[in-house]
């Protein structure tokens, strides 16, 4: 065993320097120089202030904005404590939560069936997207709160739907932050 001690310690040290220090620092250097927007978390800036990351979902409560999915990260969309609900398919707690959330949504949504993503918490609690169906159902509420026609809002939603490439790769989805930023742009324009 003792004969193995020297190679064990030396290789562990060299590998720590190589894979634990040099490798991540070199990748950091490459990322910061060549791909700095992505390497720093794809932050979005408006009026010189960081308003969030386009990759990270946020909590939306105002009727003026489109809402995201329910979140189990901290008190909701806590981006320093990502988490799913981890509730199982026969959990009473899960069913109670779904009832509460769907009652709230039904205040402003007339449709008989709600899309599944509107009442389920994502795996990370930070899902930045909703389904196009869920976005469409929120148009009436947002239009009312903004005093705009539903048609005006619908145009913005449709422009913000990401469709699968070639109908196969990736999922149809709407980035809630980008959609809400586009909406704010719409309201402040002179003929809006």
């Amino acid at each position: 065993m003792l004969t193995h001690l020297r190679p064990a310690i030396v290789i562990l040290t060299i590998m720590t320097l190589l894979t634990g220090i040099a490798y991540p620092l070199a990748i950091t250097g490459i990322g910061q120089v060549l791909l700095s927007q992505a390497a720093n978390g794809s932050m979005t800036i408006k009026d010189d202030k960081i308003i969030g990351s386009t990759l990270i979902g946020q909590a939306w409560t105002s009727d003026k904005y489109f809402w995201g999915r329910p979140s189990a990260a901290g008190d909701g969309y806590n981006a320093a404590a990502s988490s799913g609900s981890n509730l199982g398919p026969t959990s009473l707690k899960l069913m109670d939560r779904i009832k509460t959330d769907s009652d709230r949504l039904r205040n402003s949504i007339a449709a008989k069936l709600l899309p599944a993503d509107s009442i389920t918490a994502s795996g990370s609690g930070l899902d930045p997207h909703i389904s196009p169906e869920f976005a469409m159902l929120q148009i009436a509420r947002v239009a009312k709160a903004r005093n705009l026609s539903e048609g005006q809002i619908k145009v913005v939603v449709e422009a913000n739907i990401d469709k699968p490439i070639a109908g196969i790769f990736s999922q149809p989805r709407v980035n809630v932050l980008l959609l809400n930023m586009a909406l704010d742009g719409l309201s402040s324009s002179p003929n809006g």
Binding site: M1, R6, P7, A8, I11, L12, I14, T16, T19, G20, I21, Y23, P24, I27, T28, G31, A38, N40, S42, M43, K49, G52, S53, L55, I56, A59, R69, N78, A79, A80, A81, S82, S83, G84, S85, N86, G88, P89, T90, L92, L94, I98, K99, S102, L113, L114, P115, A116, D117, T120, A121, G123, S124, L126, P128, H129, S131, F169, S170, Q171
Partner: protein, 564 residues
């Protein structure tokens, strides 16, 4: 289920197969001693470490491996305990408690990467980089080294030696894992994964609310996390987190990266034993299970949960609890099955919130022994032990002395194989049984009813199988779970390796008997069928009673609309 979904699944598996054939050929060349362009680096390391790559017998090889892993364990434990005194700790995290440090050190050394903690709220950048990233490489390299050693045992005839551990370890890291990681890490940044030394950024949302967004050197750890089938995420939500897996494209790359090295191992094996058909048979067996498992999970998740549908929810999206919109059900199903067929343990959806049958498959894939295709290296030596058992059973059926690749399989090998195979059910079922009646253990459960038993069973299966994924409702950060899961990981890794290496030693010393009309071919459909049967029967006999009490009964209760 949609055609587009199946097209993605088949395309990724096809790309993995192609990549694995090429990588297998390259690895066979590396471990047969052919020089590569990185050879000067290897020479420097050997000189500093005082290594003369002299061939070792199985005992010396195993002892070197154990000494190395013991040293790694001690350092990793120390780094966590001393975290507050170490650099690169922008969030000012204090020392990690004893039981959690023990669990986490064992977890990363054994290639399990079970995480009782939330990364962004517990570990400093320094511990993540100099501790976890290092062991993501080294535990994977250890697995590859051991698999190469047992491959040599089959390839050689009448010798006592099976290679040199240090040589294999350094080659695995330098020539296989590091170059692949650099490429994948840069691709990951391009796809949106952060790589910075900053701790977090405060944003003010359009509604005027402050949001603190945790950041870090994520891409570099993410690359080796997948390539080394480690699975330990930088952030709590693992590959479901948009910073670990921002898009469908990063998801495709994640699945490819986690599968490709393990899938290359049987091809490397085939080349090194001089018969590529042998490796192909093992590969086909592994991927049959992946495909079947994915089909079941995909179907179960697309069918969804009738209790939720009864609340006025549209069933067309399937079960979305714990899933991200950007991946879709097909890529969630493939990810869940691949990560558990491997011993990876990364997750892009919360397994605890899968439907009962959708959760049964990942659990069963782990219990089948982490050989489909298993962890890097560990999957190959794992399936070779089962292959040896299969030819033995086949031999019994026709009354012939069994042999595999010209090596006679005798009582000694069978005893050692059984010793290795029995450690998993003993650990999984033993600890689960105790936890199911211990009030201390039961207070950690998040879900009542049969789902609670699933949480416990999944935890010990994941630990002993060195997987690392979880039904994460279970609060495992308690002294009971941290300690017993740590012991499970240790036994699942090393109590399997030692008898397996003894088999390697015994086989290397045997002379090859040339194939005759009487020998049972181990590359055809008949052998694959038998191997699939042995894997299923072995796993079924061991775990079916416990599974019947957890996911299976939960499935019927869900159909009956019962909640807990």
């Amino acid at each position: 289920m949609t055609l587009a979904g199946w097209f993605q699944i088949i395309l990724i598996l096809a790309l993995v197969t192609g990549g694995a054939v090429l990588l297998g050929r390259y690895m066979a060349a590396v471990f047969s001693g052919q020089k590569t362009f990185l050879a000067p680096g290897e020479n420097i390391i050997n000189r500093l470490a005082g290594i003369t790559p002299r061939e070792q017998d199985w005992k010396t090889y195993t002892l070197a491996m154990l000494a190395f892993n013991a040293a790694g364990f001690i350092v990793l434990y120390g780094l966590q305990r001393l975290q507050e005194f170490l650099p690169l700790n922008p969030q000012g995290f204090s020392a990690v408690p004893e039981a959690l440090s023990f669990n986490t050190a064992m977890s990363f050394v054994t290639n399990t990467n079970w995480q009782s903690y939330g990364g962004e709220a517990t570990m400093s950048h320094f511990v993540q980089m100099a501790g976890f990233t290092v062991h993501n490489f080294l535990s994977a390299a250890t697995g590859i080294a051991l698999a190469v050693a047992i491959t040599r045992a089959f390839a050689r005839s009448g010798v006592n030696t099976i290679g040199n551990f240090w040589d294999d370890l350094v080659k695995s890291t330098l020539y296989v894992l590091l170059p692949l990681s650099i490429v994948v890490a840069i691709a990951f940044i391009a796809l949106g994964i952060p790589q910075t030394l900053q701790g977090s950024i405060d944003a003010t949302t359009l509604e005027g609310v402050k949001q603190t967004i945790a950041l870090g050197p994520i891409a570099s750890q993410e690359a080796i996390k997948q390539l080394g089938t480690n699975g330990g995420g930088f952030l709590n939500a693992n590959s479901a987190h948009p910073f670990e897996n921002p898009s469908a494209w990063s998801d495709y790359l994640s699945i490819f990266a986690m599968l490709v090295v393990s899938a290359a191992m049987p091809f490397m094996f085939g080349r090194m034993v001089g018969d590529v058909r042998q490796g192909r048979a093992l590969f086909i067996t592994m991927f049959l299970f992946i495909t079947m498992g994915t089909a079941i999970v995909y179907w179960a998740e697309a069918t969804g949960n009738p209790i939720i549908h009864a609340l006025g929810i549209d069933p067309s999206q399937g079960n979305m609890e714990g899933k991200e919109v950007r991946f879709g059900l097909a890529m969630t199903a493939l990810f869940a099955v691949a990560t558990t067929g491997l011993s990876c343990g990364a997750v892009n959806a919360m397994h605890a919130s899968l439907t009962p049958l959708g959760g049964l498959v990942p659990l069963f894939m782990i219990q089948l022994g982490e050989v489909l295709p298993g962890g890097v290296g560990s999957g190959l030596y794992g399936i070779l032990v089962i292959a040896v058992l299969t030819v033995f059973i086949a031999g019994l059926m026709v009354g012939r002395t069994p042999d595999y690749l010209g090596k006679k399989i005798e009582a000694k090998e069978m005893k050692l194989a059984m010793l290795a195979l029995l450690i998993l059910p003993l650990v999984i079922l033993g600890f689960s049984a105790v936890s199911a009646i211990l009030p201390l253990a039961l207070s950690s459960l998040a879900n009542a009813g049969p789902h609670g038993l699933s949480e416990i069973l999944y935890a010990y299966s994941s630990a002993a199988g060195n997987n690392g994924s979880a039904f994460a409702g279970l609060n495992a950060n308690t002294n009971w779970y941290n300690t017993t899961l740590g012991i499970s990981m240790f036994l699942g890794r090393f109590a399997y390796i030692v008898p397996m290496m003894a088999i390697a030693g015994s086989l290397a010393a045997k002379t090859k008997v040339p194939a005759s009309n009487g020998s049972f071919p181990t590359h055809g459909t008949m052998f694959i069928t038998l191997l699939v049967g042995v894997i299923l029967i072995l796993g079924g006999l061991q775990y079916f009673p416990s599974l019947a009490l957890s996911p299976i009964v939960e499935h019927f209760l869900m159909l009956a609309g019962k909640t807990f």
